[in-house]
Symmetry: C2
Subunit: 80 residues, 2 copies
């Protein structure tokens, strides 16, 4: 089974990386770019076919390691 | 219009970050985790409603700044 995890910075938290990329895009002539939010995108292969178990385990992985839940939100999708 | 960009390391390129996360997950007891691939996930607000123009411009942004096309692949979705 494959889990795709998206970790993004919470809306009310400043995203310096996003701000830097926005500035760089503007300086390159891409003036139409408004806000830029940058996050992590992870693909995990899981050696299980039990969807419910995978759901609980990936949530636990996100809470414990993959996301810093103080400043980040996470969501994930399961395939297969 | 909103563009969501996914930048991932090419399949034949070593992903040390992914390997490190896999090791950490294993040491935390998540033995069912096989390979881990980590990439960037970006949300860009675009001040345009012309879909075709946005398609070309975001591609150009990816080629010039958002992805290192030597070792990374990119794809993006447009909404709105």
């Amino acid at each position: 089974m494959k889990a795709t995890v998206y970790v993004t910075i919470k809306q009310n938290v400043l995203d310096p990386q996003g701000t830097a990329v926005q500035g760089a895009l503007h300086s390159m002539g891409f003036g139409e770019v408004g806000s830029v939010r940058i996050g992590k995108y992870m693909e995990l292969e899981l050696d299980t076919s039990d969807r419910e178990e995978a759901q609980a385990r990936v949530k636990e992985m996100c809470e414990k390691l993959l996301a810093n839940t103080v400043i980040e939100d996470y969501r994930f999708e399961l395939e297969g």
